[in-house]
């Protein structure tokens, strides 16, 4: 039989002024299994806690009810109290007679009656409590970072500097991501490559970091502390250990292909590194264009490779990596402007995207940093920038703001005015959004010092006329139509999720929003965690972001991952779902309602008569379960129960409402 002690708190006058403590203690003394009732001025004070510890010893209490403030306030305090007296900390129940009784009711009689009900409910529930312990699981002290852009680079370096091994998986042949394509960065106009490439080199030189470039994550199994990741290392046709990156092969290669890195504005060879500062500086053969793979002969690269690094029959390699934490930094892609027929992107060469403009102004780009328009190589005199192309457009694009376009367009305007003397810049905008350190000043500089003319209105149409591009817009501030005859039109493309972001999310078991961005566990308080423990988010895979925010988030994700890896073992939640295997039918209806993929099927053997039979039942992984209890309702035969909130406990509480 349970032996329950009830401790009623006055909370000074907070409770006692409205609730008749005497009546409550009298009523409590009559409740089933209650062997001791005390009241204290402040139960949470040291004397109050001491009286609980004393009563546990004196009366041999095995369960405790504290009628006081909200459990959200002091549940943990009193768990520690009874634990100190040798009781399991979960053999405690709080009756919330302050926030949910004395503070919200003025009528002393009614409040007292309600307080008695609340105590009775707590007593009924605590009688059903059992001691709970949390399980622990070991931690593999290694992290994986998926994606080698600035977010992945930063996260990898931070985790490695914290002393943990890191495996970086990047699907393109080089680190760098979108940032490597940029020219200058706002608001400081630092050269992007100057600040990025040293970090790329640092990654490959770091003793704790292993880089798998040109590799992709195939599969993720396991759970926090113990993930098992399958990685496919795609065949480069080049032995990375031998290749010195000397460049003899791509100098001699006869095949020219449009360069992905230059967004088709420049060319590369069929054997190539994407850009000169690529890391690792190892060549890759593009089998779709290499003559040898297409026609069976050529092999010029092989002839000129002194290191003998060319391996034409190289195969993809599958490797398995065990890690304790994963940082996802898979980035974004540009919105496809072809949706805007009225702007003629793809039809008229002199309508380009912002990222293409970056390549045009970049000193290592296809025009060596001279802004020349694609159609005829002429230096444009009048340049029009159109913002929010794809962004804030439910009709043709996405409803959200892409956050970076206002600033990079201001940067483009400044660069245009710097590089093309006497050029005229017009920027069509809807709003200028500059919430960031030094951002508003940067925009003012573009507008005032560099003379970019901002026109408030969306452009309706762009079409060619006599070698110019006619831009048909509206100045909504004047209420008049504006026609600009431009030499070059730059569309500020929005940022959208990677095309395979949802597939990646499913592999990882994390959720994604309607736009394909991966979802954080809480938008404010858990911004870099996911709902899957041990998986963290960095950079634009979570939503559009500029470089400073991306780096900050990467640092945050890295510190979360490092903190996890610092632990010897992980203690799981104690109040989790458990399966009564004798009842479980093994139907697994609980599985789809579990948001954490904590439930799976397991096969058990049992003796029935003289035979040993096997059947399948549900199994809860205590490391993954968060204790929401959704599974218990899906379970028709009540084989699943939630410890701390069992069916029996809730029924007992409900029944105690009306004695």
């Amino acid at each position: 039989m349970p032996r329950i002690g009830v401790f009623v708190c006055w909370c000074g006058s907070n409770i006692a002024a409205t609730v008749d403590i005497g009546q409550v203690t009298e009523a409590a003394a009559e409740m089933p299994h209650v062997v001791c009732v005390e009241d204290n001025k402040y139960t949470c004070s040291e004397p109050g806690q001491a009286s609980i510890r004393q009563a546990i010893a004196q009366h041999g209490l095995d369960r405790v009810v504290v009628a006081a403030c909200s459990p959200r306030m002091h549940e943990n305090t009193f768990r520690k109290t009874i634990s100190a007296a040798g009781l399991n900390p979960y053999l405690l129940e709080i009756a919330n007679i302050r926030e949910q009784c004395s503070w919200v009711h003025a009528d002393r009689v009614a409040a007292t009656a309600k307080a008695i009900d609340l105590v009775r409910m707590a007593v009924a529930k605590v009688a059903q409590h059992s001691a709970l312990t949390s399980s622990t699981s070991p931690v593999t002290r290694r992290a994986m970072v998926i994606g080698g852009g600035i977010a992945g680079i930063q996260a990898a370096l931070d985790i490695a500097d914290a002393g943990h091994e890191v495996v970086v998986v990047e699907r393109s042949p080089t680190l760098g991501g979108h940032m490597a394509q940029l020219d200058k960065t706002f608001p400081t106009l630092d050269c992007s490559a100057c600040i990025l490439t040293p970090k790329m080199v640092e990654v490959v030189q770091h003793p704790k970091i292993t880089l798998y470039a040109y590799s992709e994550v195939e599969k993720v199994d396991g759970y926090v502390g113990s993930f098992k990741v399958t990685v496919r290392r795609k065949a480069r046709s080049v032995d990375e250990s031998k290749c010195t990156g000397c460049g003899a092969c791509w100098e001699k290669c006869p095949v020219k292909v449009k360069s992905e890195f230059d967004l088709g504005l420049g060319t590369r060879k069929a054997i190539y590194v994407p850009f000169p500062q690529a890391v690792p500086a190892k060549a890759t053969i593009d089998r779709e264009h290499c003559i040898y793979y297409l026609r069976g002969r050529c092999r010029i690269c092989e002839r000129f490779c002194e290191a003998k690094a060319i391996v034409f029959d190289q195969q993809d390699e599958i490797i398995n990596v065990e890690v304790g934490a994963i940082v996802v930094a898979t980035g974004f892609q540009q919105f496809d402007q072809a949706a805007y027929g009225e702007y003629g992107y793809g039809e008229y060469p002199d309508v380009i995207t912002g990222l293409e403009f970056e390549r045009l102004v970049n000193a290592s780009g296809p025009t060596e940093g001279k802004i020349k328009r694609p159609s005829d190589g002429k230096v444009p005199e009048t340049v029009v920038f159109i913002k929010c192309v794809g962004s804030r457009d439910e009709h043709k694009g996405v409803p959200y703001c892409s956050r970076t376009c206002c600033m990079y367009t201001a940067k483009h305007a400044i660069l245009t005015r710097e590089k093309i003397h006497g050029s005229k810049v017009f920027i069509f905008y809807m709003d200028v959004r500059t919430p960031g350190k030094g951002y508003e000043e940067f925009y003012r500089r573009a507008s005032e010092e560099d003379g970019a003319r901002y026109l408030r209105g969306r452009v309706s149409r762009v079409y060619p006329k006599g070698g110019k591009m006619v831009v048909l817009g509206e100045d909504t501030l004047l209420g008049r139509k504006v026609i600009v005859e431009a030499d070059l039109v730059v569309l500020a493309s929005g940022m959208i999720a990677q095309p395979d972001a949802q597939e990646m999310a499913r592999k990882l078991g994390v959720s994604y929003d309607q736009h394909g961005f991966l979802t954080e566990a809480h938008p404010k308080l858990r911004p870099v965690e996911t709902n899957t423990a041990g998986i963290f988010l960095a950079g634009a895979c979570q939503g559009p972001k500029d470089i400073p925010d991306t780096v900050a988030q990467a640092c945050a994700a890295a510190s979360k991952a490092a903190a996890l890896l610092n632990r010897e073992a992980l203690e799981a939640e104690a109040m989790i779902a458990c399966v009564d295997e004798a009842r479980c039918s093994g139907c697994l209806w609980c599985e789809p309602v579990c948001p954490y993929k904590a439930i799976s099927a397991k096969t058990i053997s049992e003796r029935v008569g003289r035979r040993t039979l096997t059947r399948s039942v549900a199994e809860v992984n205590p490391s993954l379960c968060h204790g929401c209890g959704a599974c218990t309702v899906a379970c028709r035969d009540s084989a699943l129960n939630l410890l701390g909130f069992t069916n029996q406990q809730i029924l007992a509480e409900v029944e105690a409402v009306c004695p």
């Binding site: 439910e394 408030r456 969306r458 452009v459 149409r461 048909l472 909504t476 209420g479």
Partner: protein, 192 residues
């Protein structure tokens, strides 16, 4: 320009009425101006299309109905197709013409109103549009007697203007449709 006195100068419910009749939500507009930028006739309008929408959002019924802009709308639908907020502007313009006609306010573009009136009268009586008859009737109503006379002669000489109006057998059915719609509209007008 006169100041708006809010909410006094507004007609409560006007924006909602326009939205309902047009089958689109005018409050979705965020005033980017793309409609006005692409409108072929906005240069001739007294208010730009996005300004009309703005006035509607603010329930400025009197000011909107006195405008000529929506009468000038050529129903080319460019605005609707390019609107990032999926506001069907062309339908809003249709709705404003309908409200204007029903409320009996003098049209901001009396010629266009006269043109539409002539057109519909002929359809009501004959079931089909008789272009020559419409032109004649329109000229009388709009007092635009001598415009295009040379053109009319040229068309006539090329056999493009049919002299005798065709009448269909079902013209009484068509007239019935007109009558029932007008009755319904009158009933609605009474309720408003």
């Amino acid at each position: 320009m006169k100041a708006l006195v809010l909410p006094a100068s507004g007609a409560p419910g006007f924006a909602a009425e326009v939205s309902r009749l047009a089958g689109t939500d005018v409050q979705a507009c965020y005033a980017c101006g793309k409609c006005s930028a692409g409108c072929p006739v906005s240069a001739s309008m007294d208010y730009q299309p996005h300004q009309i929408i703005r006035l509607v959002q603010l329930d400025q019924k009197d000011e909107v109905l006195s405008a000529s802009a929506f009468w000038l709308c050529a129903s080319c639908v460019t605005c609707s197709v390019r609107c990032p907020r999926e506001v069907k502007l062309a339908q809003v313009m249709d709705a404003l013409r309908e409200i204007s006609r029903r409320s009996g306010v003098a049209a901001g573009q009396p010629r266009i109103a006269a043109f539409y009136g002539s057109f519909l009268d002929l359809v009501r009586s004959g079931g089909r549009l008789h272009e020559l008859g419409m032109t004649a009737m329109y000229k009388l109503r709009s007092r635009d007697l001598f415009g295009d006379i040379d053109l009319g002669v040229k068309l006539m000489l090329r056999g493009k203007l049919k002299l005798i109006p065709g009448r269909i057998k079902g013209r009484h059915h068509v007239a019935g449709i007109f009558r029932r719609v007008r009755e319904h509209e009158a009933g609605e007008g009474g309720k408003r």
